[in-house]
């Protein structure tokens, strides 16, 4: 059985995917952050967390994308113009976050496929939560002054 990429390589795939998605969608660069102060995270209010399952033969995992609500609002403004939200949903920011997670996960799935572990995606699930105190999971990235976290986990499962 082809070994899965190690943890740091999975996080690198996630970071690369995030950078590409944000560059294409928002024309905004994202840079990896070495250390985030709690004050910065708290100032951003509620977070939206999108989880997208990775489903493959003998392999399963997930991509988790955590973004501040304020960043989601900004992204909606860029993508949808003034007014910033679609007309047909009760939770436009949740929908946008789910779609961002979907796009990032799609690129991670493609990278896993190239490493011998093709995966398909589950449907995104989105929840809201206060910023996680202490050391939340995932690699922090900075985009437009906001802290975004991406976490990729993947493991062999019994067949």
């Amino acid at each position: 059985m082809t070994p899965l990429p190690p943890g740091p390589e999975l996080q690198r795939m996630g970071g690369q995917a995030l950078v590409e998605v944000l560059d294409t969608l928002l024309s905004s660069p994202a840079t990896e952050v070495q250390r985030v102060s709690e004050a910065v995270e708290a100032a951003n209010g509620l977070d939206l967390l999108a989880t997208v399952a990775l489903i493959g033969k003998g392999v399963s995992g997930a991509v988790r994308l955590r973004i501040p609500e304020a960043f989601a609002r900004h992204a909606a403004g860029v993508l949808l113009g003034a007014g910033g939200t679609g007309p047909h949903t009760q939770d436009p920011l949740g929908d946008l976050t789910g779609e961002l997670g979907n796009m990032v996960a799609g690129r991670v799935a493609s990278a896993l496929g190239r490493s011998g572990h093709p995966c398909s995606l589950g449907l995104p699930e989105v929840v809201r939560s206060p910023p996680v105190e202490g050391a939340p999971g995932g690699t922090p990235w900075s985009c437009l002054g906001y802290v975004i976290r991406i976490d990729v986990c993947c493991h062999h499962r019994p067949t």
Binding site: V21, T24, L25, A76, L79, L80, G81, T85, G86, P87, H88, T89, P92, D95, L96, G98, E99, N102, M103, A105, G106, R107, A109, S110, G113, P118, C119, S120, L121, L123
Partner: protein
């Protein structure tokens, strides 16, 4: 004649992005949130092009495409697949189902417009701007 484009995606964000993208052009844009709705709208509107998401609840893009190809009226409708998943196996499957083109999400506006323009002519509203398409009326 004004072309009709049907966008089928469970994400309201994507459907809103597409609505914004096509608003400057002379075309009718219809929407559906999953494959099942998409088949119903397609039967009603007979679109000139379908922009179809791959991964959706209720009925996903592949299942919808299979049903579309079985419909004697709709089976030749051109389809462009919009997908976050660009793995080889997925692309081989959609190619076998006769998808005209595919585009990976996220996409740049000009990239999608160019692909759409190869299938249906995109004429700017009020005669301003640049037409996109294989056979273009004078602007």
């Amino acid at each position: 004649m004004t072309p009709t484009i049907l966008s089928i995606d469970d994400s309201t964000t994507i459907r809103s992005v597409l609505a914004r993208l096509f608003r400057p052009f002379e075309c009718e844009l219809c929407e559906a949130a999953n494959g099942e709705e998409g088949l119903a709208v397609a039967a009603l509107k007979r679109p000139d092009l379908i922009l179809l998401d791959y991964n959706m609840p209720v009925m996903d893009g592949i299942a919808m495409l299979r049903r579309l190809r079985e419909d004697p009226v709709l089976k030749r409708t051109p389809v462009i697949m919009l997908t976050a998943e660009s793995g080889f196996e997925n692309m081989a499957t959609v190619a076998r189902l006769g998808v005209r083109d595919y585009i990976t999400k996220p996409f740049r506006d000009e990239q999608l417009l160019a692909k759409v323009g190869r299938i249906v002519p995109l004429v700017p509203r009020a005669g301003t701007g640049t037409s996109i398409g294989p056979t273009l009326p004078p602007t």
